[in-house]
Symmetry: C2
Subunit: 200 residues, 2 copies
């Protein structure tokens, strides 16, 4: 059985960096945006469209007042959403069965439950998340921090909704993960250097 | 500065065993029930009384209808509660300043905030918590599991109330800890062997 590590993460917590670095240190495959590319290939839909569905909130996936939403997305929308969900499961399962790997996001912890992956959740306090986001932009002083705060909250709210819609569980609830790591005041590499020891 | 590790834990999650084993492996002092003993010494109150206060729910510490409660506990009750709270802070702070140590429970994570302890929370699913509790009794087959479930829930509810009353924060909320470890399907020694590497 392969070693499979899934990573759930709050936006700005450094979860993606954590996953990439962990995979690099362990010599495991790393899957993140690759999942979108694969789903797009298998469904013959555009990557942009797949990404939009996968990062959307459930109520806009299955609108109660279908008229407008379907007009906007086209008649095949519901069919496409279902295909994307099905392929997300297939793609992630295939990846996990192929080799040792780290998979970031996309409900992989839930999809791979039967393969018993090691499930990590990465989180941080608001201050650190803002600082991490600001470090990534060219002109941090020009960023509207209030707006950034709102964006972080919204992205996480969407992740929570999507996770709950897909898995029936609460996103970020400790019980869904083997370990939860607070990256508020630490370097991501520090956290990785501890967790990699679990797989040596 | 000493290395100080604080451990919050759900009842039945193996948190106490985790703390003792971690202290043993690292050669750190271990404080758990010793805190009660020290508070009792400093306040000249009995250990049983101190334990009762420290493990009680806040509403019975500061009753709204004081008449009955004070009659039950005696007139010095409120004064004693305040002394115990004050001494809990003193005792835990002294312990942390004396040497490297592991401190289990008693809001140590909050009390020692300024000393920047490493804060761990140990949790598990209900099934594992019941199994761990049953392993500790001589005749597990004679235990009423339904009642045990209720007891576990009640103990944790009291811990949550006490923590929130004392710290103003939510007990078990990931953000209060550096790392949260799910002990549901693992041996406590496994979890310890990872975390000890952080302090080598």
């Amino acid at each position: 059985m392969n070693n499979v590590i899934t990573i759930g993460r709050e936006f700005g917590s450094g979860g993606r960096e954590f996953g990439r670095l962990l995979a690099e240190k362990l010599g495991y495959e790393y899957y993140d945006k690759e999942i979108i590319t694969e789903i797009a290939k298998k469904t013959s839909l555009s990557e942009t469209y797949v990404k939009q569905i996968v990062e959307q909130t459930p109520h806009s996936l299955f609108p109660i007042t279908t008229g407008n939403a379907f007009a906007y997305y086209g008649n095949n929308h519901l069919y496409n959403v279902q295909s994307i969900f099905r392929e997300q499961t297939n793609v992630i399962t295939e990846m996990a069965k192929k080799s040792d790997c780290v998979i970031v996001g996309r409900c992989a912890d839930y999809i791979l439950e039967d393969l018993n992956p090691f499930k990590i959740f990465i989180y941080a306090d608001e201050k650190s998340k803002i600082e991490r986001c600001l470090k990534k932009v060219d002109e941090p002083e020009s960023v509207n921090v209030k707006k950034l705060k709102r964006q972080i909250k919204n992205i996480d709210k969407n992740r929570a909704r999507y996770y709950s819609f897909y898995t029936g569980k609460k996103w970020g609830d400790k019980l869904n993960y083997d370990i939860c790591i607070n990256t508020s005041d630490i370097e991501i590499s520090e956290a990785v250097s501890v967790i990699e020891k679990l797989f040596e």
